[in-house]
Structure formats: structure tokens, C-alpha cells
């Protein structure tokens, strides 16, 4: 039996699949957020050096990781759309951008709140902070560039170029603590292990999973609206139950 690997590569089939998946990811994200917050605040002990302030980590670190990860995914979809001229790839890139931008903002905001008690300053032109700020601007630039061009396919191509070129910033963010003499602490979680207390690890990874599932749910919901908008002149859209009702 031949498997059609590209069955869901078309907006027609992906629309229905996305609609079925959104509630599952959303509910899972909500449950994991609740569990992660409980572990982070009720189970994880007070830090010996940072006291209670370190608990910002449970939203700051997942937001930072997601902002970088989503950018790479967005750039990947943008590249697919550019190379193979596939409509859905470009739609996914457009759907990811706002969520990635918001995670980058949460990372910068929570980082500033963590930096004030730790370093005595809301902001420093530290390598990691500056490169994360650039990432936020790249997201905004992608959204603005796409919105500024009327023809959606031309907009997709122009924004895709920006996304691909900007992806060089992601390894810069990641390796900045190693390449430069930065105030921002180095990686606590490495492939060789971590010195973090086990309950802190549980809280961190639970919140990371929660943010990941949340971003999948929101991106899938957003891409459904983008598909509706871009494919509005097609027969299959006009035959959808939510359009006919």
C-alpha cells in the first residue's frame, strides 16, 4: 500500500487536520502549565544564592528557548516555500512569526525583571541580551515586510529571504555566552548534565513542554485563519460547514 507522505502538504487537507489537533494541544498545554507552576513554586526549593528571584527562570528560559526554536522553524518553512513554491509552507511561516515575537518579548521582559535584582540593572548591552533583542526585531521585520506587500506570494518570498538570512542570529544567541565575556550566565543545562536541583529541572522541562504545546496550538489555529483568507475563492472553502452556516 503506497503512503502519500504529502497528503497534508496541501491547505485543503491540512485545514481539517489542524482543526482536530488544536484542542488536544491547547488542553495539554494548560495542564502542563498548571503542573509546571505547581512544581516551580510549591515543590522547588529556594535558591541558595538568588532566593526566590530565580523562579523567573521557569518562564524566562522556556520563552527564550521557544523564541529561538520557533525562529528556526519559521525560517525552515520559509525556505521550503521559497524552494518548492508551496503555499502552505509560507502560510506556516506567517503563522509562526507573531507567536515567536511574543515569546521573544516575554524572554526580554522576564530577563529584565530577573536582571534588576541580580545585576542591579534592567538592561545591559550584553551579547546575549542584545542578540535576543535583534531576534525580536527580526520577527517584527518579518511581520512588517510581509504586511507591506499586497501580493501574498510576493510577500511570502520577500519575507522568506529575511527569515533565512536572519537565522544566523540564532546560533549567535546560543553561543554568545561562550564566545564573549558576558554577564549573562552560561548554559546550566548541557548535554553532559546539569547541577540544577531535580525539582527545578522538572519544573523547567514541564514549563518548556507547556510553552511548546501552547505555541503549536496557537500556530495551528492561526494558520487555519490564514488558509481561510488566502483560499477564500476556492470551492472547498465555500463548502465548509462553518462558511455555509
Amino acid at each position: 500500500m503506497a503512503i502519500n507522505w504529502f497528503k497534508y502538504a496541501a491547505p485543503t487537507t491540512f485545514y481539517g487536520l489542524a482543526g482536530k489537533l488544536v484542542p488536544w494541544f491547547a488542553i495539554s498545554a494548560a495542564i502542563l502549565f498548571a503542573i509546571g507552576l505547581y512544581i516551580g513554586f510549591a515543590v522547588a526549593p529556594t535558591d541558595a544564592q538568588q532566593g526566590e528571584f530565580y523562579r523567573i527562570m521557569f518562564i524566562h528560559v522556556p520563552a527564550s528557548i521557544l523564541s529561538m526554536f520557533l525562529y528556526l522553524v519559521m525560517a525552515g518553512y520559509a525556505a521550503l516555500g521559497l524552494i518548492f513554491n508551496t503555499r502552505l509552507s509560507a502560510m506556516m511561516a506567517s503563522a509562526i512569526a507573531p507567536t515567536g515575537a511574543l515569546f521573544a518579548f516575554i524572554s526580554l521582559w522576564s530577563g529584565a525583571l530577573w536582571g534588576k535584582p541580580m545585576w542591579g540593572a534592567w538592561w545591559l548591552w550584553d551579547a546575549r541580551l542584545t542578540s535576543e533583542l535583534i531576534l525580536f526585531f527580526l520577527y517584527l521585520g518579518f511581520i512588517a515586510l510581509h504586511a507591506s506587500i499586497d501580493d501574498p506570494r510576493r510577500a511570502d518570498r520577500a519575507a522568506a529571504l529575511l527569515a533565512i538570512v536572519g537565522s544566523v542570529n540564532v546560533p549567535i544567541i546560543y553561543f554568545s555566552v561562550k564566545w564573549w565575556n558576558t554577564l549573562h550566565q552560561g548554559s546550566t543545562i548541557k548535554f553532559s548534565g546539569t547541577s540544577m536541583h531535580i525539582s527545578m529541572q522538572h519544573a523547567l522541562f514541564t514549563m518548556l513542554a507547556a510553552c511548546w504545546l501552547y505555541s503549536i496550538a496557537v500556530v495551528l489555529a492561526r494558520v487555519r485563519s490564514i488558509i481561510l483568507e488566502r483560499e477564500r475563492n476556492t470551492t472547498w472553502i465555500n463548502e465548509l460547514p462553518e462558511v455555509r452556516s
Binding site: A63, P98, W109, L113, R232, N238
Partner: protein, 61 residues
């Protein structure tokens, strides 16, 4: 009261209000915007569909 002093006397409140409440607000606003976008897109598609049906009825399309 100076923010620095308040922050050090109420670290958990500072963390909750400053970080988690802001993040939650951002998530809620994002979800609301996604739902709103879907609602207005569906309205536009329905309007276009109804306009097309009217044209067909009048024998234009």
C-alpha cells in the same frame, strides 16, 4: 516605597506580577487575537460567498 526595597521585601509577588502575570496576559491577548481573526475572516468569506450566490441568482455569474 522604593521599587528596589519593595522588590526585596516581596520577591514572590514581584516574580508573579512582573513575569507570570505579564506572560499570562500576553497569552490571553494572543488567543483573543487569533479567535478574532478567525471570526472576521469567516465573516468576510461568508459575505463573498453570499455575494457570489446573489450574482448567480441574478444570472450574472
Amino acid at each position: 516605597m522604593n521599587l528596589d526595597i519593595w522588590m526585596r521585601e516581596n520577591p514572590l509577588t514581584y516574580v508573579w506580577i512582573g513575569s507570570y502575570a505579564v506572560a499570562l496576559l500576553i497569552f490571553v491577548v494572543e488567543i483573543a487575537m487569533v479567535k478574532h481573526k478567525r471570526k472576521i475572516t469567516l465573516q468576510q468569506v461568508r459575505m463573498m460567498r453570499n455575494a457570489g450566490d446573489e450574482d448567480k441568482d441574478e444570472g450574472i455569474a
